[in-house]
């Protein structure tokens, strides 16, 4: 599986410049992960950890500067492997001092042009995306069916209007929208959030892409609707074998759908491995942040035991003033005397601690 992943993100860095604070927000700082064929990879983290920005960087949808400033995003399609950030280096100049980015000059216009040219072949066609807030993500001025048919006509061989309509109705049925013929003609304003998300999923899959990026697909929906959407995604996953990058802060959603899980903290992946190993509360080799994250999730077992929910101490990392050492150092409860020095001063590398299980922590560092 790892020999030739569908999507491979390597050391991605996406910064934003904060005019008010005259500093860089290091939204994504060194994300490395890969998604294999017909595999679902979950991306978990707190709000502000850079999950969505990672996805938007892959799609080239970011607005505001400087945006993506480094790394590789490799994607394999029928036309071969391509680095989606191929020409990036020609447009960006990063000045670093002691490992800190001091200034970035980027030719936004040139880069946007180059990026649009590359991404034109991928957006919708190879990589589809669904978002949170499905109601605002659908165009309120177009019928639901019209939007799905548009996607079909843009990216598949069904070019004629009637063919596209047939396909759109098929996909509406596939995502279990009741009376698809009626829904085809309605506007998003008269549909519920869950229904809109189903329509979004239909729209994303109707172009028959090889990859789906689901950015918080269940956030903002009712709990019952959430579980139904997850059911639907689970079903579609087993039927279509589409590769999925699933972004969520909801560990229960991630654990139901993912084959592998990446945990993000402060703009970097801190742990990446098979879902069973990463999310297993009894697993020994766990990143302290992952452990804290899982302990903070209410489970039936914990409710039965009436044990207190564990909140993670401290605040979400300030991505402007990133500490020199481990980013989780201030909140970590497993710093031992032997490694305290290194934790405080050196940023740990992402190392493979067992087959397919990567960790960014000095506790498990080799050598």
């Amino acid at each position: 599986m790892n020999s030739s992943p569908l999507l491979r993100i390597e050391n991605l860095r996406t910064f934003f410049y904060s005019q008010r604070k005259h500093a860089f927000v290091r939204a994504v700082d060194g994300v490395t992960l890969d998604v294999g064929r017909s595999e679902t990879v979950g991306l978990v983290g707190e709000s502000g950890s850079g999950k969505s920005i990672t996805a938007m960087s892959v799609m080239g949808l970011l607005r505001g500067g400087p945006g993506v400033i480094g790394g590789r995003i490799e994607f394999e399609s029928a036309h071969g492997r391509q680095n989606l950030l191929e020409k990036l280096q020609a447009f960006v100049e990063v000045h670093e001092q002691n490992g800190r980015v001091m200034s970035v000059s980027k030719d936004e216009k040139g880069w946007r042009k180059a990026s649009e040219r590359i991404m034109r072949n991928y957006r919708g066609k190879e990589i589809s995306m669904i978002f949170q807030n499905p109601r605002t993500s659908l165009n309120p001025y177009m019928t639901v069916g019209g939007q799905i048919a548009e996607s079909i006509r843009l990216h598949t061989a069904n070019r004629s209007e009637s063919e596209a309509r047939e396909r759109a109705l098929y996909w509406l049925e596939r995502v279990k929208i009741d009376s698809p013929k009626l829904r085809y003609k309605t506007y998003p304003a008269v549909m519920s959030g869950g229904m809109c998300q189903r329509a979004m999923i239909a729209m994303a899959l109707s172009a028959e892409p090889s990859m789906l990026i689901a950015d918080e697909p269940t956030t903002g929906l009712d709990a019952t609707i959430q579980s139904k959407i997850v059911d639907l995604l689970e079903e579609l996953k087993s039927e279509t074998h589409i590769s999925t990058l699933l972004i969520s802060h909801d560990i229960s959603v991630i654990s139901r759908l993912s084959d592998r899980v990446a945990i993000m903290y402060g703009g970097a992946v801190v742990e990446f491995g098979p879902a069973r190993q990463v999310l297993d509360p009894h697993e020994e080799a766990r990143h302290p942040y992952t452990a804290a994250l899982i302990d903070s999730v209410p489970s039936q077992q914990k409710i039965r035991d009436k044990s207190n929910l564990q909140a993670i101490e401290g605040d979400v990392l300030d991505t402007i003033n990133v500490p020199a050492g481990c980013r989780f150092y201030d909140r970590c409860n497993r710093v031992k005397d032997g490694i305290r020095e290194r934790c405080a001063t050196q940023h740990p590398p992402l190392q493979e601690i067992s087959s397919g299980h990567h960790m960014r922590c000095w506790l498990f560092a080799k050598g």
Binding site: G124, S128, S137, M142, E150, S151, L154, Y187, A189
Partner: protein, 317 residues
């Protein structure tokens, strides 16, 4: 739940037309009352320079029905208007309706033409500066150009253009309705379009609207699925604001038309209104007021129609 846009449009159209009737009646009452209360009357204007005796004056008054109370005069006017008769001009003695028709068509040409000019200049500037979210080198000078053009006073701008076109290009006569030289007729249209002071506002309003729409979630979805951003943002980002702007700016353009028609001797409503106001020519003033009010009303009617046609469900929110 069933989607029947045409029926919704029809119902709204009828309702709006009914409201328009009420509005026109209201406007006519107010203007009539103001005219009645204003000093001066058509007879002194009519008899200016003539040595008419008080006796003669009184006879004319009685002949024109001016001795009645003001509401009796209003209702007799209203009923004759409802039967299609706008009365006769005090000054010329000719029926108002025929003249009103040709004159309002001329003004319509002027206002529609200059509105088009305004939009042709302002819309590309607004969209150009909105479509690119990184800094546009040309954006600032273009915006400044809009503000500059809009701050030129119309009466000054018009005379300068006349001066330049005659002395610089021997471009003459301006605003002639002969038909052989439509280019000459274009000059006042250009002047009103550029100088009516609406360009900068149109630029600002449209750019803000378009920038907002470009940041909407559904436009992001369109980009993510590889569809044209332009196509998805068009309805909310261009069509709706532009019709809104047209509806909102018609009164300003009509106001500007009065000045431009004076300067260029354009045989339109504004010039006629000006003359009628000097003459205290009540039937003409009332007729023009009604036509102008219905122009303004038609603008907002158009806006409502487009709004509903664009999305039949939005109106309920």
């Amino acid at each position: 739940m069933k989607n029947r846009p045409y029926r919704v449009i029809l119902i709204t159209l009828l309702r709006e037309l009914f409201l328009t009737m009420l509005l026109l009646v209201g406007v006519s009452v107010v203007v009539f009352a103001i005219l009645y209360a204003a000093p001066g009357d058509p007879f002194s204007a009519l008899l200016e320079g003539q040595l008419a005796t008080d006796e003669v004056r009184e006879q004319i008054r009685i002949a024109m029905g001016a001795q009645q109370s003001w509401y009796a005069q209003y209702f007799s006017w209203l009923f004759s208007v409802l039967s299609g008769n706008f009365g006769t001009s005090v000054r010329t003695g000719l029926p108002v309706s025929g003249e009103l028709f040709t004159v309002s068509i001329n003004t319509l040409k002027l206002t529609v033409g200059s509105m088009l000019i305004t939009l042709l200049v302002a819309v590309p500037i607004a969209l150009y500066t909105a479509m690119r979210d990184h800094r546009v080198v040309l954006g600032w000078p273009l915006t400044m150009f809009g503000y500059l053009i809009s701050s030129l006073p119309l009466f000054w701008f018009g005379y300068i253009i006349i001066y330049i076109s005659i002395h610089g290009f021997h471009f003459f006569p301006l605003a002639s309705f002969g038909g052989e030289s439509w280019l000459h007729t274009l000059v006042p249209v250009l002047v009103l379009g550029l100088g009516s002071g609406t360009i900068s506002e149109v630029i600002r309003q449209l750019r803000e609207e378009m920038t907002r729409v470009l940041g909407e979630d559904y436009v992001r979805t369109a980009r993510a699925k590889g569809a044209s951003v332009w196509k998805h943002a068009f309805k909310e980002g261009v069509l709706l604001p532009v019709t809104e702007i047209i509806a909102a700016k018609i009164p300003f353009i009509l106001g500007g038309a009065v000045i431009v028609e004076q300067i260029f001797n354009w045989p339109g409503m504004g010039r006629m209104a000006w003359q009628a106001a000097l003459d205290r020519d009540f039937p003409v003033i009332m007729g023009i007021v009604l036509i102008a009010a219905s122009f303004v009303r038609m603008g907002s009617l158009l806006q409502r129609m487009v709004f509903i046609a664009v999305n039949p469900h939005r109106q309920r929110e």
